[in-house]
Symmetry: C2
């Protein structure tokens, strides 16, 4: 394996009742908390009431900031920063999924920067101070609750970009599977696709033929099998607590660093999806469901000798594919099994499935994927020609 | 699963060359480092020279303290504390395996306590201050490098006890598999047994029939399979770097908390082994190799209906046992496979194998296992009668 570092300082607290049991203790000594959340589902499921009553009982002031979008926009973040500054907030509490958490991170590091927070996303300004962040997770998907990364969209320039800072690492993350029970079917599905994508993106890494990493492969295969076993149970019964529980812990482990173990993964599929979301504002998980099988097709086509063996291993270990006559055939059977699995859960497989015609924006999509780089990807490098083939295939 | 908390703040740095590349940066600002190590193998393999030359080049003072025993003794720890106090050390660097790390932890929290550090192990004194600890790991076994637990032996009273403190958590752990290459065959084997035991002890938990935890089981099964696959490669060629690498990361993951995931494990086997080590000063891993199969025998005998299903699952998933006519038979076949596996690596299976007669000390062993409790264990509670049966069977 490659050399690596790992630490996981966020205090992860998992299980039924953890918000009620831990929130006020975690926030003692805070003066004024900015509550950041999305469209308002937490008003309907009782979580908003639980949080605000807990804060009131602990005599902690707070200001709610509602309206973080899926694909969270920097314009909204800037407004939240202004609000936090005016209220002299000393803590940001994100109540939501990846979008809300990612927005909270930029709010926290942007509070001492009196300009457009987009500068931080672009790397033009490196924050040196922040207020601390806590998370109450409501969606099994992102992993953002225990890492320092964030993805923000600039709707003016139609860009969706990742950034990160050690200052953006949440100090605590409260994960109560009950808080995911009311997530509707489509967003539950998108979360499942996001989790599986994060696992693929760490499994399909730079130089797997030269740098062995059997334990990392084994842990990721085990996690993928677990998600594949659990997802249909959740989709069949959205109130299945124990399945929601398993999905939630898998989502966190899929991107908290413990499954990386010295692998430089391949995040090209996420980057391709970011371009789609930036141009068409589609849900991230829907985009990934469309992108990933076509990415597999392309990398198998581009270099079957190099790329088929690890995809074939995934096919056998994760999808229980019977080894075929050739390694390439086994790999292709694995990609087919992935397609069938996501389709069985109701995921789209082309942009046409979600009634979007990307053809007029082909060049822009390629440009927004590359963002100035000549290639992306590590398992398989993709240049603009490769991206064109992938975008055409998923259209 | 049960509610749980997880954080992993120790900075784990893994790979070839990490001591040379990171040690001086990690210790900058330190005035005087106590170097704690064992019998002196690090003088032979070059690690002592590398560490001291690195510290000298960085103008950091240090005092070596050699002679931490396997089953580290509180008398030695007290001497090291006196030394650290005299030299006004502001950092303890443990260079070694579990024994050295566990001793370093008690040194670090004992430095401000001017009495016998055994009081801390007994819980009679709760430390409120400590100097920080760093680790250079030289043995794949303990997991102690990234957790806050420690086990210390009092040779005067013949007690071996576990204790822990948040202050005892190492701030960094440098894991270079090269530093395990010179570990001889027997200690390599004991490390393998220790790792597998930690995995069993988290897998066989309280109420597995009532509280499902499929992801935890899947991750532990994957880790056990990995160790079982890797161990023969290491034992066949002690210089096999990539196998040493896999074993080292498995050892850390086996006890850094990430595989626990809300399970109250069953540590009875470790407690039984502690009594054996306290009375006869045998290597911890040798003791575990003797204890564990007999613990399995006993718990299957004591309550086959309750205990066979999870042991049978382990048998099938980890040892690839073909399911037998009954669940109990499958479970027994799994225990047989474990015995065969450890024997194939050269582990002892009874105390007679290591030429020790425990019969005269039977009552003392039971007393030292229970340490005042009426029962130990969660998967299966063990009282003094149960312990007597186990000790008689492993004699």
């Amino acid at each position: 394996m490659e050399n690596f570092q790992l630490s996981l300082p966020t205090q992860l607290i998992f299980g039924a009742g953890v918000v009620k049991n831990h929130l006020s203790t975690l926030l003692k000594d805070k003066q004024h908390v900015l509550l950041v959340y999305g469209g308002g589902s937490i008003h309907k499921n009782g979580l908003y009431q639980l949080v605000t009553q807990t804060l009131e009982a602990a005599h902690i002031q707070f200001t709610p900031f509602q309206g973080i979008q899926p694909n969270p926009r920097v314009e909204t973040v800037n407004a939240a920063i202004t609000c936090a500054r005016e209220q002299m907030c000393d803590f940001v509490l994100a109540i939501g999924g990846g979008s809300v958490i990612d927005a909270a991170k930029l709010i926290a590091v942007g509070i001492d920067y009196p300009h457009n927070a987009w500068d931080i996303v672009l790397g033009k300004h490196t924050p040196t101070s922040a207020i601390p962040i806590g998370v109450i997770l409501t969606l099994a998907a992102t992993g953002s609750e225990t890492n320092s990364g964030s993805v923000i969209t600039n709707w003016t320039t139609q860009e969706k970009r990742g950034w990160g800072s050690p200052l953006a690492l949440p100090v605590f993350a409260l994960l109560d599977p009950s808080n995911t029970i009311s997530v509707p079917s489509n967003h539950t599905l998108y979360g499942i696709v996001d989790i599986m994508s994060h696992l693929f993106e760490q499994y399909f890494r730079a130089h797997p033929d030269a740098v062995s990493n059997p334990y990392q492969e084994a842990l990721i295969e085990a996690t993928l099998r677990q998600v594949i076993q659990t997802a249909p149970l959740v989709m069949k019964d959205l109130t299945n607590y124990s399945a929601r529980e398993t999905l939630m812990i898998c989502g966190t482990y899929a991107l908290n660093g413990v499954l990386r173990i010295g692998s430089t993964g391949d995040w090209a599929s996420h980057q391709i999806e970011h371009a789609l979301s930036a141009c068409f504002d589609i849900p991230h998980g829907a985009g990934l469901a469309i992108v990933f099988p076509h990415w597999f097709d392309y990398v198998l086509h581009a270099d079957p000798m190099k790329n088929a063996p690890l995809i074939a291993k995934m096919a056998v270990e994760v999808f229980q594919v019977t080894p075929q006559h050739t390694t390439l055939e086994t790999a292709l059977a694995g990609v087919h099994a992935l397609r069938e699995f996501w389709a069985s859960l109701g995921a789209p497989s082309t942009m046409q499935d979600i009634s979007i015609d990307i053809t007029p924006k082909m060049e822009e999509l390629i440009e927004k994927t590359l963002l100035g780089r000549s290639t992306i990807g590590n398992f398989q490098q993709l240049d603009s020609n490769a991206l064109k083939i992938i975008f055409q295939s998923l259209a």
